[in-house]
């Protein structure tokens, strides 16, 4: 098991280098970030040249990349154009987004799997059909619509919650954004677990368990659910990565100063150190989440072994 984990970690190195290189090229191909610093005015050539030199922008692209990677391994992700080290931005943004992701994932898991089990066990009945229609509706409505709608109804019209999140982003304020963020994935989780459960109810081991005279509750939780969760776990694993980086819309609507907001601002201002730095970390998050998913397979299904 330990050996397997080490092998997987080693495999991450080439993936990491390849993906950061692609990101680096894409971001730096976007245009000259220095020109945008000067707003509507023409950049002063001498000042612009000096900024370029300091940011290593006057070198060829491959040299810039090597320099950047060298710095990363020393823990230096460069400096954003407002003078803040990118690591400082990360230290403030990642905990917030991680909390938001946790809220969303928890909602996804608890509500999604429960609904999936309920409709999977009652396949073809009214409740199953209702849930299928509901999830279809949720999947087809884009996040910014649900976001603005719920914000307006709960925050402005009825005043149940604060419409925006304060800078510290405590957990209780993240519940509404968490729901908005979770909704689409929640629908997928429901559908995935429903199908999986519905299939496995006819499996031999379930019939055996029932024939042994096990209580229904134990059959469902220990035998049926555990085996049915594998596709769901795969989905949630990749979803963690997606939620960490892809919450741009939700974070903007609810004024959450997390990763999505920093990325959005970095792209808008052509602030390449911020964008490359954050995406690099997201690559690592994706890789680790995938590893975690693979390890969880073995927990869920004892037939899967890693050596």
């Amino acid at each position: 098991m330990g050996r397997y984990v080490i092998r997987r970690l080693l495999q991450m190195i080439p993936v990491f280098i390849g993906s950061t290189f692609l990101i680096f090229i894409m971001v730096y191909a976007l245009g000259d970030p220095v020109a945008a610093l000067f707003g509507d005015k023409a950049p002063d050539p001498a000042t612009a040249a000096r900024i370029r030199k300091d940011l290593y922008l006057d070198r060829p692209l491959w040299e810039q990349y090597l320099h950047y990677m060298g710095q990363i391994f020393q823990g230096d992700f460069g400096t954003a154009f407002n003078g803040q080290p990118v690591t400082e931005l990360m230290a403030s943004a990642f905990p917030v987004t991680l909390r938001l992701t946790l809220v969303a994932i928890t909602i996804e898991i608890v509500v999604g799997i429960t609904l999936g089990v309920v409709s999977g066990l009652r396949r073809g009945r009214t409740i199953d059909t209702t849930l299928l229609v509901l999830t279809l509706v949720v999947i087809s409505v884009p996040t910014f619509v649900t976001g603005y709608l719920l914000q307006y109804l709960l925050g402005v019209k009825w005043g149940w919650v604060r419409p925006t999140v304060s800078p510290d982003a405590p957990l209780n304020e993240l519940i509404l954004p968490g729901i908005v963020l979770a909704l689409v994935s929640l629908a997928y989780v429901t559908r995935l677990s429903r199908t999986s459960i519905a299939e496995n109810t006819k499996a031999d081991y379930v019939r055996t368990a029932v024939a042994k005279g096990l209580p229904r509750r134990r059959v469902i939780t220990r035998h049926l659910l555990r085996n049915s969760l594998i596709p769901v776990v795969t989905f949630i694993g990749t979803d963690i990565g997606a939620l960490m980086g892809g919450a741009i819309v939700t974070e903007r609507i609810f004024n959450i100063h997390g990763v999505g907001y920093q990325l959005y601002q970095g792209i808008l201002r052509n602030n390449s150190p911020t964008v490359v730095g954050f995406v690099t970390i997201l690559v690592i998050v994706f890789l680790l989440a995938n590893l975690l998913v693979d390890l969880l397979y073995a927990v869920l299904d004892p037939r899967i072994r890693y050596a």
């Binding site: 245009g31 945008a36 023409a42 905990p95 604060r162 925006t164 510290d168 100063h257 052509n270 390890l295």
Partner: protein
């Protein structure tokens, strides 16, 4: 027990993730409603908050509260008035003697002296400090020594700045510039305390200035708390207890917070909300002209646009644009149809002239078509408009302008739009002179002077003359205007120069951009200055 081992590995990883999120959660820092404190929307400043490095409105907001310079522009009239300057004297419009008022200090107790200004200006000009606003010092003798076009500087200070005594210093300019004292209200000319130079990093974390507010706390990317400085020696003391600036991810979100009572002041109403704003806010909505002008600039470096006769075509295109309808339909009157090349925020005394462009800026499709045909038609029968489309409804108005031109010409789709994804990309295309059709040029003036609307944009070889317009008569009139000692005479000369723009039409004036703001019921006396920044020190909180 293999399963158990697996579970332990997975559980360990989850525990690490949970521990990482546990830190950082804190208590709710409260919304609006704190007694006497104005909460106001903010955006993260793009550059570090140094006076000579701040060239955008978000950082400018803070500097306007924390600093006072030699001059200050009256928020209503835009007139430059003495602030720290007791008098600025000159015999020849080129050498100035500046005397400071007595009794001014920074909020840390250090007196504001002539040295505070000279040090600040030398710092701002020095190319090693990479200050965006360095060109503002380029009129001072010795600028080239500290800011050479290439290579390393040969001096640390500019020869043209000489400290006479604690309250007096002299400035030598490299050429005559009679209205130069009026430019000194710009924030780049603010004085700086010694702490700025001795402990720069600490100063940036908590800027210290000489304005009516002091910085109480500053969390980068989140917000800033400013409090009234009770020892402030100036007359424009703050009438409220302080200002809390809060960074918002989006102006829509800030607007939502204003409507739901969590925020007092929003100084940028999102375009999507303009149709609701009268309902939501009533008379608590401000919409007034600012020193911002939008034009369509012609690429006169391209002979197809600059050859003789094309001035008729350029004029014709201008007359084919239905400015009234576009500003009403697309911008909901947050833009005002342009009638000259300056801004109504200057005031007519300052050089704004609503009749200067005349017929050339009035919609007349029949005359437009005739003029374009007389001038030989559009180059190649086509015209392409270019702008960045990431902000400001640029895509919408470009489509509308094109429709307007196409309808006037009645020759099918002669006008097309070239949308550019980001501002940086647009800027690259623009400054490498690659565009072959008219392109958007936005201009926000740095100080309310007609000179700032003309010289940087249309003088031969000027820094923001992206169309490479060049006219000897225009240059001559601008030079004369700068040498004119009498301000009223100078304005007339500048307007004479502007008339050449009306005849040549190197750039089509589109519209003046307004500043907009909305505020909560508990505020009163809210107004915007010419730079569309709220005049915070005058806001009353009930």
């Amino acid at each position: 027990m293999r399963g158990a081992t697996h579970a332990r590995w997975a559980a360990g990883a989850v525990a690490v993730a949970l521990a990482a999120t546990a830190c950082g959660g804190g208590s709710d820092s409260g919304g609006s409603g704190e007694a006497g404190i104005v909460s106001s929307s903010w955006g993260d400043p793009q550059n570090p908050l140094e006076p000579a490095n701040t060239n955008e409105v978000q950082g400018g907001k803070v500097l306007d509260m924390v600093f006072r310079g030699l001059m200050r522009y009256d928020p209503e009239t835009g007139e430059a008035q003495n602030m720290l300057a007791e008098r600025i004297e000159t015999q020849d419009s080129q050498n100035f003697t500046i005397t400071l008022k007595e009794g001014w200090t920074f909020s840390n107790g250090e007196p504001v002296t002539a040295q505070s200004f000279v040090d600040a200006w030398n710092y701002g000009a020095d190319v090693r400090n990479k200050q965006n606003n360095a060109p503002f010092f380029s009129d001072i003798v010795g600028y080239d020594d500290v800011h050479p076009a290439s290579g390393d500087p040969t001096a640390k200070t500019m020869k043209g700045l000489v400290v006479k005594d604690a309250r007096t210093f002299t400035v030598a300019l490299d050429k005559k510039f009679s209205t130069w004292p009026d430019t000194l209200g710009y924030q780049a000319f603010s004085p700086l305390p010694k702490a700025f130079f001795t402990d720069h990093a600490a100063w940036l974390d908590k800027p210290v200035g000489n304005g009516p507010y002091t910085v109480d706390s500053y969390t980068k990317g989140t917000g800033m708390k400013l409090r009234r400085w009770d020892g402030y020696p100036g007359e424009d003391k703050a009438v409220n207890g302080g200002v809390d600036l809060k960074v918002y991810t989006d102006n829509n979100t800030a607007y939502t917070d204003l409507i739901s009572g969590n925020l007092d002041l929003v100084d940028d109403i999102p375009a999507q909300q303009l149709k609701n704003v009268k309902n939501d806010l009533g008379d608590r909505y401000i919409n007034q002209p600012a020193l911002i002008m939008q034009t369509l600039t012609f690429p006169l470096y391209d002979p197809r646009w600059s050859k003789p006769g094309m001035e008729k075509v350029r004029r014709g295109i201008s007359m084919a644009i239905n400015r009234d309808e576009i500003t009403r339909q697309i911008f909901r009157e947050t833009r005002t149809p342009a009638k000259d090349w300056t801004s109504p925020a200057l005031g007519e005394k300052g050089g704004f002239n609503p009749t200067l462009c005349g017929d050339a800026c009035t919609y007349d499709p029949a005359a437009a078509k005739q003029l374009i045909q007389e001038g030989g038609g559009l180059p190649g029968g086509k015209v392409t408009l270019t702008s960045n489309v990431d902000t400001g409804s640029h895509r919408d108005w470009m489509d509308a302008v094109c429709n307007s031109i196409n309808n006037a010409l009645g020759e099918g789709p002669a006008c097309t739009v070239n949308p550019v994804g980001t501002f940086a990309d647009f800027r690259n295309q623009q400054s490498s002179y690659k565009l072959t059709g008219p392109f958007r040029s936005g201009w926000q003036a740095d100080y309310p002077l007609i000179q700032n609307f003309l010289q940087p944009l249309y003088y031969t070889g000027a820094s923001s003359n992206y169309g490479k317009f060049s006219d000897p008569q225009f240059d001559k009139l601008v030079d004369e205007a700068n040498q004119e000692a009498d301000p009223a005479q100078a304005v007339t000369k500048f307007q004479d120069a502007e008339k050449i723009l009306a005849a040549q039409m190197p750039a089509i004036p589109l519209w003046y951009q307004n500043g907009s703001a909305g505020y909560a019921e508990r505020l009163s006396d809210v107004a915007l200055n010419q730079f569309s920044v709220p005049v915070y020190n005058r806001i009353k909180v009930s």
